[in-house]
Subunit: 110 residues, 2 copies
């Protein structure tokens, strides 16, 4: 039986939009693969989520900026973090030439 | 600020026991890093969990056997699967010479 692989079907060239693939969807819980190829948050946009998020970058690299922090955090393969609901953040940059692969878990925090 | 990295502190030589590190613990939800260095399930033992599990192998390799299946599934980096509660399975083998890194998510399935 063939396995499902997180690195299957990655784009070989930059794409216009990020890709979001739901890997598992359960009540109050969602696992997504996100593939970026150079995208970033629009100028002035802050991501402000109702759900909690746990995210790990597994390939590529990205810069993440949290509101109130002085510096953009650089994420490299294996780096993970927990983002509390409504903790505002932006993706400042992702690598333009290679696919950046994120594994993100969204859940309702009680 | 230093990031937390999934590949930090991996053993450089085989260890007696697998390592289990909780990365996030929330009500009804637990994210664990598991590091295997050649361990497998004891003979005749089947893992039968009350919680649902979503697991991805990110480094190394392993053989997973599900009760009722004819063949052991070989997992390689990026391979992921969902294991329903009480779906019996065994780890038949993990690579003896390199650290096998798993990211496992356990949750209550309602």
């Amino acid at each position: 039986m063939a396995n499902q692989n997180l690195y299957a079907g990655l784009p070989s060239a930059p794409e216009t939009d990020e890709r979001f693939d739901a890997l598992l969807t359960k009540p109050g819980l969602r696992i997504e693969r996100i593939i970026s190829t150079g995208q970033s948050s629009p100028p002035g946009f802050w991501c402000d989520q109702q759900e909690a998020e746990w995210v790990i970058l597994l390939q590529g690299a990205a810069g993440l900026w949290f509101a109130g922090e002085d510096e953009v955090r650089e994420l490299n393969p294996g780096d993970w973090l927990y983002i509390a609901p409504h903790r505002r953040h932006r993706v400042e940059w992702t690598e333009p030439q290679t696919a950046t692969v994120w594994l993100a878990l969204y859940f309702n925090e009680t």
